[in-house]
Structure formats: C-alpha cells, structure tokens
C-alpha cells in the first residue's frame, strides 16, 4: 500500500500531483511572491500583471495547480529576482535595473535573492546591493553574505533563505522515520539567537517530505514557504554546466559554464524498487528539486490557514513543475 504521504493519484509511480490542496481561506494575511532567475520572464510577468491581464498568473496556476485557487483569490504582490543556487547566475546591473523598473511599473514589491558566494561573488553582489532602494528585501543564502549585507548595507532588509535552513529533505526516503524531523532548521535554539543578532525578521523554508503542519512552526518572525518545489541538494559542481567545458576543466571547482541551466532541465527517474516510492525529481543546473506531493501541499495549506506562514514563494520560471 502506498504511503499516505505519497501522491494519491495514478500515473507513473503514482506521482501525478492532481488533487488540489484546500485553499487556506482563513489566512487573510497570506500573499504570494514569484521568483525569477532571469530578467526577461520577470519583465513579461510584471507587464501582464500590470496590464491587469495576468497571463503570468495563469501560467503559475498551471505549474502549481494545487495553488490555483489561492492565486485567483490573491494574485502575487511581490517579485523575487535572482538565483538561490549559483553565483554564475548573479544578474548584471542592467538586468537588476530592468527588473526593478518592471516591478515598480506593475506595482509589485521587489526583492533580490543571492546564493552562496565566494569572495569574488560577494564583490559582484555588492555592486548590485548598491543599486537597491532603501528597505528592499534581500534574501541571502550564505552567512558571509548576510554579514556583508548587514554591515555594508544597513538600509536593506535581510531575509534568511532556504539554503540556510538545514533539515533533512530526502525525497527518496520511504518513511518519515528516516528523516527524524523535529521542526525546520530555523527553529533550532542556537540559530534563533544568531538570526536575532542579524536582525532577521523573515526566513524562507522548504516543505520537507512527510511534513506535519507543526514541523513548519518554531520561528518567531515571519515565514515564507517555497512551493511546489523543494530543493534536495545543491553544490558548486554543475552537471549540465560542463556541457561545453574543456576536458581539463570539466567538473573542477569554480568551473565556468555557458549557463546551460537556462536552456535545459532534466527529469530524474529511478527504476522502482519494492517498497520505495520517490517524489518526482527534477534537476536544473547544480540543484536537484522534488515536487510536493498532495499530502505535502495539504500540510502547507494547513500551515497557511493557521497563520504560521504568510508568504508563498512560487517559481515564475525555470522548472516545469506542473503535473
């Protein structure tokens, strides 16, 4: 019998996420943000929202059908620009300024997202941070970047990104017992103190497999939750990013790339083993993602309905995460 936390409908390996989760109607404070790594899709999305013809929102609903009703009731209020996973995808200043302009014209709030960075990456990021209006939210996924941000750009608002939220999210685990969940990574006593030291008021988290609604509680500030994709693992060595590397540089730390992740993605399938049901897995660039199951979406809906999280972050482009 399939585990109750696996997808409930048919299709290969029962992974089709077809059942909409209940809309968290009781959570009036919930709002949606849409994230983009590239500026062109962001500009198109903002333009459609600004024109009152939210094609982009329709596209979002198609890729995240469990959230279609919420999107219809509360269209996105925010854009988050930047990639969480790769320093090679840091936007140019020109792209940042276009994104800022597009968001402003559409009446959407704007946030910048930064990944884990090396010293060279921090130098580049500083040039971006210097262009942001005061009080802009910046999602950081690296403690060093957070230190630089809070010291050098005190007028900006730091949010702790999901890479800083450590928790087991093994998408192939056959049962909750493997994960020993005891709350999300920001709910740990030591980290709470550290986040307070940096004045962090908002954190972003993923929904882990086998989640219970209580697993996303425990942070005293505001909580953003990514859906419908969680990341399972990421790193500096990029599989597709080596497509055009010379043999000598292939898979070397700090390798260059031609941003192949912006052109290709892959679905990762596993020959089934008895008693093992994996979530649907996707790889884009250096990161493996899992798609939420229906029970995970339901748990998240319960979290939103209870007011434990107030922001849903949906991917505006990048992965075909629909059913």
């Amino acid at each position: 019998m399939m585990d109750e936390h696996r997808f409930e409908q048919g299709g290969p390996r029962g992974q089709r996420p077809g059942t909409p989760a209940p809309v968290p109607t009781g959570a009036a404070a919930v709002h949606c943000a849409v994230s983009f790594s590239e500026v062109e899709p962001l500009v198109r999305f903002a333009a459609s929202v600004g024109a009152g013809a939210p094609d982009g929102t329709a596209g979002l609903a198609a890729s995240a059908p469990e959230w279609a009703a919420l999107l219809a009731a509360r269209p996105p209020l925010r854009i988050q620009f930047g990639n969480e996973f790769c320093q090679r995808l840091l936007p140019s200043i020109a792209a940042l300024e276009r994104a800022l302009g597009a968001a402003s014209a559409a009446g959407l709030a704007f946030g910048l997202v930064l990944p884990m960075l090396t010293d060279a990456g921090i130098e580049r990021a500083e040039r971006l941070l210097g262009r942001l209006p005061p009080d802009t939210e910046v999602t950081v996924n690296d403690w060093g970047v957070l230190r630089r941000l809070t010291r050098g750009f005190p007028a900006l608002r730091a949010t702790a990104g999901r890479l800083l939220c450590r928790m087991l999210k093994e998408p192939r685990a056959p049962s909750a017992a493997y994960l020993h969940l005891g709350g999300h990574g920001f709910a740990t006593p030591g980290l709470q103190t550290l986040l307070e030291r940096f004045g962090i008021e908002r954190v972003e988290v993923d929904v882990p497999p086998f989640v219970q609604a209580g697993d996303l509680r425990g942070f005293s500030g505001q909580l953003s939750v990514h859906a419908p994709l969680g990341f399972a693992t990421t790193g500096r060595i990029c599989r597709i990013g080596n497509l055009r590397c010379s043999a000598a540089r292939q898979f070397a730390t700090g390798h260059t790339c031609a941003r192949e992740c912006l052109s290709y993605w892959s679905e990762l399938s596993i020959a089934r083993r008895a008693g093992s049901e994996s979530l649907r897995l996707l790889q884009r660039g250096n990161t493996i993602f899992y798609r939420h199951s229906v029970p995970m979406a339901r748990a998240l809906a319960a979290v939103l309905a209870a007011g434990a999280a107030d922001r849903l972050v949906l991917p505006g482009e990048g992965l075909p995460c629909g059913s």
């Binding site: 060093g144 192939r172 740990t188 103190t193 790193g235 060595i237 990762l268 250096n286 482009e317 990048g318």
Partner: protein, 336 residues
C-alpha cells in the same frame, strides 16, 4: 601543517599515530541518543562513530598519552529544539572526559557553545560551508579557533580566507571521501543501498528537456550524451575509482597531495583525511601517503614534492586527468 586523521575505535589511535597522524577526530553516538533520535542525527556520519562515552574516554586517554589531541564531531545539519538539551548534556560529558575540541557544523551551535565557555576549542566543520572570508570572519567572531573549509574551494579562495582570519586556523581536505554536492547544502541521506544509497550515486535516468519547450536537436542529444559519459567518468574518480586501491593498498580517489606546498604557502594550518567510516587499512595507507608528502614538503623543492606525490600511486593517468583532484589548479591537466 598538521595531519588530522579520523578514528572509529580507541584501538586505532596507536597504529594511526605511528603512521604519522598529528591530530585525531571522531564521532560519538551514545546508545541513549541513538535510541531516541536515531543514529544519523548527532553528527554527519551514520557509521564510524564511537558507540559509547566509555570508548571516547579510552580514546582521549590514548591520544593524550601520545601528546596528541582529539576533536569530536557534532556536525549534524541542525539540532532541532526537541534534542537541544540532550545535545548539551552529551557535549558536557565530552568536555568532562577531556576531549580537546568540538567540530560543529552550524554557526548557531557554534555561538551557543561559545557562550557556555566550555573547556574545549571550537572548530567549525566543513559542513558549515564556509566559502568566503566574511563567513570565516564571522566564525572567528563567534568563537571558532579553526575553520574547516568545505571540499569544493579553490586555492585562491583558500588563500583569501586564510588572509581574512590570521588568528584562526584553517583546515582543508587532503584525501578521500569525495562529495558531488556541497555537503552543508545536501539535505539528503546516504540511504541503504537497497534504497538507492547516496543521492549522488543513485542510478537515475536523466531525461533532458529544453526549457523553451522545443524538441532537443540531434546536436543537443549528442552533446548531452557526451556530457553524461564525462559525468559518469568524473563520478567514478570521485568515488575512489570504483572504491579501488593500488596493489600496495594505496587508496584512489579525491586527493590534494600534490597541492600540499601551495596549501602551506596559503597559510593552511591543518590538512584532513576524510572518512572515519572507512576501513582502518585504508586510513593507515592514506596517513602514510600524506605523511610522506608532508615530510618532503617541509624541506623539498615544490616541483619535486609534486612529482613525488603524483608518483605515489603509480597511476599517472589518474592524476593526469584531474578528476581526482581536490585542487585542480595544480593538476597536470591544467598545467601541462
């Protein structure tokens, strides 16, 4: 530079010390913790841990009798609130037994332990993913006396971080135990083999698609096929060339031996052999290799040290391709 070596039992201290270890590190998972929270939640390794505080006591005694030090790893990805109090109890016990340092995997834990003023040094684990000088400085401010850098850093980045924290030691990987992803950002498990093992070794079938929805062109397919083959070759090297050894028992796999001189010049204080859950024989041979190169580096010409390091395994092709290199910048594949 000091050679830091993993141990999984008190009896391993003496032979590994004779082979050339300067310092030791280990994990500890007491039975009560394992029963309550599982074996994979006190540190990053499911295997290779000391099973009791009594074993740790014997280990500390053996190490100190040799005039050396031992660190204990508490580098789980995180410690949720439900196990925080128990964690502190275990750590207090470790301190009382006289261990020399704790290796912690997360800055919140580092800060909290520093505030407790325990009679132990605090090392920041590679699991904390320190990739830049700002984070190294933050770790030092929070109380770390040593920062262990993650696997995937370049020599240039190492130099920058060493310069940024002159009063704090930097330790880096030298041998064994490759990792495809960033360990601190890998939220998966090394599942039992029947469930797929580590996610990086899972035999996925990758079905590629274009993001613009167009069909893949034949040229795309050819390039992707070639890239997948290269990926598989790299994986094979990262995982110790099929977990193999030379006829002399020297392990293949991730290696920074020929970069030892550059690491020393960068300001690295300690180099680490990874894999406390590997067999003792493998670790002994690794220590012997590392010791031999370190001793030559102390007095020898840099080029001669590199040649010596690359000749150790008698497999020049393995070195030449660069896929085993922790620090590819010094690889013959890039430098001719």
């Amino acid at each position: 530079m000091r050679l830091v070596v993993p141990i999984a039992a008190p009896e391993e201290v003496a032979p590994l010390s004779r082979a050339g270890a300067d310092e030791f590190y280990c994990g500890l998972v007491p039975p009560a913790w394992a029963q309550r929270f599982g074996r994979s939640t006190l540190n990053r390794r499911m295997g290779g841990n000391l099973p009791s505080v009594e074993d740790l006591a014997r280990t500390v005694e053996s190490v100190h009798a040799l005039g050396k030090t031992v660190s204990v790893a508490f580098n789980a990805q995180s410690y949720p609130a439900d196990r925080w109090d128990e964690l502190l109890k275990v750590i207090e016990r470790v301190a009382a037994l006289g261990a020399d340092a704790l290796i912690v995997g997360e800055l919140g834990v580092l800060a909290a332990l520093a505030a407790q003023r325990l009679p132990l040094r605090l090392h920041l684990s590679s699991v904390a993913s320190c990739h830049n000088s700002e984070m190294a400085q933050l770790a030092a401010e929070l109380g770390a006396v040593r920062v262990i850098l993650p696997r995937h850093v370049t020599l240039r980045e190492i130099r920058g971080m060493c310069r940024a924290i002159p009063g704090t030691q930097v330790e880096v990987f030298l041998l064994n135990d490759g990792c495809v992803f960033e360990e601190g950002s890998c939220h998966t498990l090394h599942l039992p083999g029947a469930l797929g093992g580590p996610i990086c070794l899972e035999r996925f079938q990758s079905q590629y698609h274009r993001r613009d929805g167009q069909a893949l062109a034949e040229t795309d397919c050819e390039a992707l096929r070639a890239n997948e083959e290269a990926w598989d070759r790299w994986l094979w090297h990262v995982f110790a060339c099929g977990f193999s050894v030379t006829t002399e028992g020297l392990p293949h796999g991730p290696c920074g031996l020929c970069a030892i001189s550059q690491l020393g010049r960068a300001g690295v204080a300690a180099v680490k052999i990874a894999g406390r859950d590997s067999r003792l024989e493998r670790r002994l041979k690794s220590v012997e290799m590392a010791r031999a190169v370190l001793d030559r580096a102390a007095t020898g010409d840099e080029r001669q040290v590199q040649e010596f390091a690359r000749a150790l395994r008698g497999k020049p092709d393995r070195c030449a391709c660069g896929f085993m290199c922790y620090y590819r910048e010094v690889s013959p594949s890039l430098n001719g």
